[in-house]
Amino acid sequence: MTAAMEPASADLAHFGRFGGRYVPEALTGALDELDVAARDALEDPAFQARLDWLRRDYGGRPTALTLAEGLTEEAGGARIYLKREDLAHTGSHKLCNVLGQGLLAQRMGKRRLIAETGAGQHGVATATIAAKLGLECVVYMGAEDCRRQHLNVVRMQLMGAEVIPVESGSRTLKDAINEAMRDWVTSVSDSHYLIGSVVGPDPFPRVVRDFVRVIGEETRAQVLDRHGRLPDAVTACVGGGSNAMGIFHAFLEDPDVALLGIEAGGEGLDTDRHSATLTAGTEGILHGARSWVLQDEWGQVRPTHSVSAGLDYPGVGPEHAWLRDSGRATYTAATDAEALEGFSLLARREGILPALETAHAVVPTLRRARELGPEGIVVMNLSGRGDKDVDEITEVLEATGQAPGAGAQG
């Protein structure tokens, strides 16, 4: 390691007026330690070599960029590409983050990883790197999410992780984060909180971003290689915002590339049952950072809803708040129904079962492709695979009389 660096300046810790570090003082030391370790590591060739090896030989990077012929035909407009994070080990973009943070935890001498998870993809990824690096792993998961993402609970347990159902609050992702933070305050000397998205107190949003931005770097090179130019638009679903930040970041300095984030519109923005923080929230402070929050007029965080556990979150990463504020990225919402339509389109036209989170991006991506016309190029981040959602989707479709095979039984 190089000589000890100073903790980051206030500028680095904020994205415009967003970000910062609103946490109990007890965590300040650990956050400083993480900040220094992360910046040290990024300049350490040995760390980078080890990370590159894990990404390539263990994780399956670079992931493919697939021309979605069926979706392109369906939209009747721009060429649509899919960045295939579903093909990475563990089946989602979450692996990028845990490989990096897992190595950082090891570098800091921590023997235990704490994680929160919504859909379970981040929990599975954390359990994976814990097993690979020989670290203990505890995953907090909302009790409601344990039910609807049971397959991922079993996957985590099979890899030796302890999954703790969280019964407090709304029993979903935000409560799992609260519980993970409470654990971390108590165990900070030997544990690393491996946060699962570009949220939380500084330096988490930039540490996570720096590990997931490989998605956009690959995408940029792949599109340039095939077309000799950049795409016209890049799209991704946004819950906390890590897969979107991962694919957006490499294009931030390319003003001609439109960046579109799609939030979970639940049962509609005119109801209370959605998770569209940037589209329908207000500014606030949650989980250690100033950003946008779904909250009441007093600042009490509101219950959220989404058909996808991974987007069912009342906050969003502070860098997204800043991108929205500066106009560099735009954000819209897709409803539960549109997500199911997107799921079905990908399944039937592309032979890909996407995660329900990812499925939110499909319909708005098709809409954008139509607007751009046949000369355009759109890349959608296919952030994860949908095996985990098969039971949930079947249940939802049965409730609406659209279950596969429902007709055959009649």
């Binding site: 910062g20 109990p24 003082e25 007890a26 007093w298």
Partner: protein, 280 residues
């Protein structure tokens, strides 16, 4: 002053003075936390009054927040009861305005930063500080606001004569303690252990060294909280700190036996605060 009259204007420095007066009388100050609205607003006010009468030198009035990440199960559950009633920070402040004329000791609000930041609109710290002062509160403790981010709140609070208590933890580095010591007014809240609120069977050995490190940096009183639940623990802390902060144990008493149980426990804790100080 009787109930119903407007609260007295805030006199700056009341918080620190209350702790020092306890010391001059040969005891550590006893600081008692109870959440507004648990089990309902009127009973919470009665419990707070009972605590003041039974020997508390300062009161911390918790304003329940939806995501209390510094709190353990006891306080989380109590705050959830209050939130389920639908009480807002406005209701909590109104209760404080009824409470403060009826007690002889200063009361501080203890809550999370988003509620303060969001009061009356976005980024309206001044608005909250004004209404807190109007309700007769003497200061605020915001456990998720570290000293490094505390400047805007400290400015708003100072403009309305409110003390701003910041927290230090055993793992805090020297530079952090410097910032806490510099920014805090009233007293420094030293966490006895790395953890969240909640009664513990044994206090760790980290509190006394932390208090010593803080003493080297500030002449403000230093009070210790987290995990103190009984007379013996209060006495232990009183032997090296200027004040003893008790939360979860009193909240449990409020839930189980109302104002009478609170008064009984507080009297016992106050005895511990005298015994510990005498043993110095």
């Amino acid at each position: 002053m009787s109930a119903g009259q407007p609260a007295a204007p805030t006199v700056p420095g009341r918080v620190g003075r209350a702790v020092r007066e306890a010391g001059a009388q040969g005891r550590a100050a006893l600081i008692v936390y109870l959440p507004a609205g648990y089990p309902d607003l009127d009973t919470s006010q009665a419990c707070l009054e009972a605590a003041a009468e039974a020997g508390a030198d300062l009161l911390e009035v918790g304003f329940p927040y939806s995501d209390p990440l510094m709190d353990g199960p006891t306080i989380q559950a109590a705050c959830q009861v209050a939130l389920d009633h639908g009480y807002t920070p406005h209701d909590d402040l109104a209760m404080c305005a009824r409470l403060t004329p009826r007690i002889a000791v200063p009361a501080l609000v203890m809550t999370y930063y988003n509620l303060v930041w969001h009061y009356g609109g976005v980024d309206r710290l001044d608005h909250f500080a004004a209404d807190a002062a109007q309700a007769g509160l003497a200061g605020a403790i915001l456990p998720d606001l570290p000293a490094s981010e505390g400047e805007p709140w400290a400015r708003a609070a100072a403009a309305h004569g409110l003390d701003t208590v910041f927290l230090a933890a055993p793992a805090s580095r020297d530079a952090t303690l410097d910032a806490v010591a510099q920014r805090t007014t009233g007293f420094v809240y030293a966490s006895s252990t790395m953890g969240v609120t909640g009664a513990r069977t044994a206090l760790g050995s980290e509190a006394a060294p932390l208090v010593a490190r803080l003493r080297a940096r500030t002449s403000d009183p230093i009070c210790v909280g987290l995990g103190v639940s009984n007379r013996a623990q209060a006495a232990e802390v009183a032997s090296f700190a200027d004040g003893v902060i008790v939360g979860s144990a009193v909240v449990r008493a409020a839930g189980e036996g109302g104002p009478e149980a609170v008064a009984e426990l507080v009297a016992d804790l106050a005895a511990g605060c005298r015994e510990g100080h005498a043993a110095r």
